[in-house]
Each structure stands twice: as structure tokens, then as C-alpha cells.
Subunit: 363 residues, 2 copies
Amino acid sequence: MNTLFLTTDDIRRITRHVGLNQLLDELIVRLEKAIGAFDPEVTIVPERDGFDYHHPFPGLLEWMPVMQLGEKAVIKVVGYHPRSPVINGMPTILSTVSAYDTATGHLMALADATFITALRTGAASALASKHLAHPDSASLGIIGCGAQAVTQLHAISRVFKVKEVLVFDTSEVAMNSLQERVAPLGLRVSPTPLESLIARADILCTVTSVDPGAGPVFPDLNLKPWLHINAAGADFPGKVEVPLTVLHRAFVCPDFPGQALKEGECQRLAPEEIGAPLEEVIKSPGDFREFREKTTVFDSTGWALEDMVTLDLLIECANDLGIGTPLNIESLSEDPKNPYGFLGDLGSETPAGTGKVRETARV
Amino acid sequence: MNTLFLTTDDIRRITRHVGLNQLLDELIVRLEKAIGAFDPEVTIVPERDGFDYHHPFPGLLEWMPVMQLGEKAVIKVVGYHPRSPVINGMPTILSTVSAYDTATGHLMALADATFITALRTGAASALASKHLAHPDSASLGIIGCGAQAVTQLHAISRVFKVKEVLVFDTSEVAMNSLQERVAPLGLRVSPTPLESLIARADILCTVTSVDPGAGPVFPDLNLKPWLHINAAGADFPGKVEVPLTVLHRAFVCPDFPGQALKEGECQRLAPEEIGAPLEEVIKSPGDFREFREKTTVFDSTGWALEDMVTLDLLIECANDLGIGTPLNIESLSEDPKNPYGFLGDLGSETPAGTGKVRETARV
């Protein structure tokens, strides 16, 4: 019984076949449907857990599980190592995601999750903006010009007729290189001083790597009364991006309330200051339409449901296109009572003297 | 950067090259060393967690993480679906194990874990027996003749000069088929009535699938005063195998105390009735030598450290022998700020009309 592996090369081939815009559009449609149908009795999302360490360098290895009852469980494992680019010449984030059949425990698929995470985080902001931003929003502001800036502005530009994209980063290198990264998407960005950016934006995305304790990343100054903010950078206790005064007057909509209270903008709010989560907004858009004229904040900390929907889409595309690398990983002994059955005839066992084996001292 | 996949076929080739006895002997040596060196500040073992469900059929999907600080994290995922053999024609247990580099988050390896689990559970009982059973033990009793019976008796026979193996199962089919399964190991077993088995055994392994609440699986009747019991079946709240009277007079040695208190024989004991864990026994064997003449119980619930040691051994053998299936799973964009960088030139994007994609309704 095979497991489908989607390597970074497989995902490249799928995306180029389907089209990046089309893939993202389809994801936004599916994500809206999945979030709108979310039932916590059927889709079980425990809070993420992990190892947090400081030796030899600071790092975090987290697992984010989700289960669709009677169907499958999906576990994403994310490594976050901020010093890895300098020390190892590797990305800050490496991630893989696995899907298990809950009827058998079979590992159905494993995929690179870097692209999946980037895409779903963008798609979630696009959805939140669709429901909470002013429908005529035409000016998009982006604070933080790293990897997430690309997918935020890409996804929002699929849902809104964006006329200008104003971008800012404390790093001039990052700010000035963003245009080159989004040019293949047919998008244009304008590096803009922070105060001017926040005054002109109808929709603002904060996707910074500000240190815990060092936020917010912009002042509460001349903001449009209908400004919608996608605060997608906060994902760690103490890390915040939005001024408290803005949070206090805004409708604050978390993706995953339990987690947002620990790691998101919501960590600075009392429970009664936190608005309905995204699933309620999507389920009853009419109840929240008034907020399109008001200040709103989508507190996006990352929800395993989003990973599951994105992985499902990629697996479907892979199967349709015959892309992917199948491997028969798991042992399916003909006799489940014989753990050595898969080894075949042991009579022909030929110790090879690898130097790894020696006799155990008997008692 | 590659991930090493060890399929069931790769593990077969490794085992046949190295030799099954030699592999198990080496594992017992390494496990004793690793447990003897165990430092909870360096080897972090959180309790396992998972999804427990009853729809459409009862099942359990658990993850068992362990981290060797400054080196790697290993996560085993185990599916336990007792009705799967009947409903799906699949084994009750399917399992895979992954290793991550904690300097980068890189998925270093993924392997089938069914064989790994069977082998390490046997090796742990062999080690506990080495330190707690009477050194002249020659009669081995096995209650429960499923998959675990094979590795229990195999591992213990590598450490003790076993003269007779007495076996019992409530299923005659299981009991009578065990001989055939262990014959390739050069071992002989004798199906034996339960009361006679427990009266003759110097070492007893309980590896049953008794239902929670239905234990114990043998009576406290005519046991040898130096009997050592490896209770390896209890792994679930309510599931127990050993009579309480035996536990009360025995030195009870858990593998992983926190877990044994929840799922093992220890769940029926007060904290002060529980003896030192296996790591302490292995670290200071002299302090526990007196118990070799007394009744002892190894409460084996399964410890992620054992999985890590076994996976390490297989990976080392795979690398030495050039066995294993490398795949480049993870995206290593040349520009970590560009989540689309790995896609190459998007200008040549060719939507293939898979029917999976459609335009998102714009706002």
C-alpha cells in the first residue's frame, strides 16, 4: 500500500500545470467552504505543541494536528530556526505535512509544507478581507517585505481590484527586492514611508518578524476609519504588531481563538474584547456586514484546518495529473501476528560484518 | 537536501544483510547504553498525545515525540485500529517514525515503525530481565501469542540461556501457530495450560490484547518467589495484565513513570508502591541486585527513547550499506524571501484545465 510523497519538485510541476493563480483561486474557494462548514465536533483541532529550545541555537519544532472525524488526520511539523540562514545557509522555516487514514492509521501522503503554509496564510487573509474589508478597497499596504508579503499581496489581489500596493520594511534590502519577487505575478509595489502607507491603505497586512516585546510595528495615526488589518505576523507569545488603541476600537476576528489568545494580537485583550472568529463571520456574513465600514483586525495565527484543505487540494491535483512519488513505506505482513514475516526466509540470513554488530554479553 | 526513506523493503534488506540476531543484539547493547546515559535535561520525552475516536470504528492515532537536545527530534505516529483486520483486511497497528534535525528543522528520515516498535519492545524486556530476573532463569513463559510474543521471546533468548518456552493464549489458533512463527529463529515453544505455565516460569511475559477492565490475565498461584514479569501488554487506561496481589509484593519497575501511571500496571498503584524506573536500575545495577531473588515486574508501556535508538541503528546500517530511498522533499528556495522562487519562470505557466480550478468570485 503506497504513500504519496509530494516533493518540492512535484509541487512545482503541479503548480505549473494548474497555474499559480488558478491554484490560489481554487484554494480561496475551498477554504471559504471548509471554514464555513467548520463543525468542532467533526473537525478536531488541538492546539499546537512542540519543542522549544535554546541549545545550541534558538529553535522551535512544532506539530500542528487536525482530524476530520471518520476520514483522516493531518499533522504538520514546522521547524522555526531564526539563525539557520546565517549558521546553516538554510531557510528559517522548514516544514512537512502528513495525512493519515483514520480507518487504518495508514500514512496516505507526505508533502513539503513551506509552499502550502505560504499559500494558505495568504488565502486566509484574502478571505478575512473579503468579509471584513471595505468592498471598494483599492489601496493595499504591506508592512514587512519577507516571504509572507508575497502571498498576502498575491491572495488579496485575487479578491480585490487592488490599484496600489504600498510596502514598507525596516530593511531597505527586503523592501526594495519585493518588486522583483512579485513581478512574475504581474503585480507592482511601491516602497512607501510608513506614515504615508498607513494613511492611504484600505487593507493593511502586517507580516513582520518583529521581536517579542518590540511591537507594535506601526503607529495609530491617520488610519482610515474602515481600515481592515490582516495581522499575520504574530505567532509567538509577546510578539504583536498592532497598536493596542487600534485593537480596542476594532472588531478583532481571530482565526483560532485558543491559539490567538496565546500567540496572536488577542493575547493583549480580555475575552470580551475579542470578536467572533473567522468561521462565524463566514457562516453568517450578513451579521458582520456593518464592520466593512469600520476598523477590523484579522488575528491570523495559522490554523491546521487551512493546512488540511491546502494539502487536500494538492493531493487531488497530483492524482489528477499523475504527479507524485509513491513509496511502499509501511509493513503489511501477510500474518499480522508475525513481526518478522516481511523479512522472508531467514535461513539465508547472511551477516555482512558491517562493524555495527557484535554479540550481546549474555547474563 | 535529501530525506532518507526506509521502506519496509529497505528494512528487510538491512535486516537480511546485518542478520536479525545481530541486529537485535546490537540494539540491546545500544539501548542499555542509551537508557544508562539517560538525562532528562538532554533527552526530552513528553507524554504521548493523540486522537481517540469511535467513528466510524474505534481507533487511536498517537504521536510520540522525543528530542535529543542539540541533535534531533524523533516523532513516531502510531495508528491503533483493533477492527481494521476484519473491516479493512489491514493490521491493527500501522506506524511510521520521522527524525528532524533540530538545527534546521530538516526532515532527515522517515521509516516504517512496525518492525522498529516490535524490536525495541522486545529489547526493552530483555534488558529489564537482564537486570531484574534470576540470572539462572531458564524457563520462559509467554501469555498472549500475538506479534509481540515473537519479539519478547526472541530478545529474551538472546540474553538468557532459555531451556523451555511455555506459551499460552485464549485463542488456540494463536497459541498453536506461534511455533511456526518462531521456528526460523531456531526457537521451540510448548503450548502449556496457564496454571502450569505460571508455576514453571522464571521469566514471564504478558503480551495480551485483554480488554480494559478484563484483566488480570493470570492468577497469583504457585508463582516462583524470584519470578520476573515483563508486563508489555498494558498500554491503555484500564488495561492491566498482572494480579494486584503480585504488584503489591513485587518490585515494580516502569519504563516511563508518567505514562505507566496512566496506561500501565502502575495505574493501580500509589506512587510510593512504584519502584525505580528502568533507567535507575541500569545506571546502578548493584543497588537492585537483591531483587533478582524476588518478584519483579517491568511495567513496559513503550518509551519514545527506545524508538529513537532503534531508528538511529537502522539509519546507520542503511548508510553503511547504501540502502534506503532518498527524496528531496523540502523546498529550499534560493531566496528564502520568495515562497514562489522554487516554481521557476512563471511566464510559461500553462493552465491544464484539470477541472479543479475556477475563478474566485471577486468582491
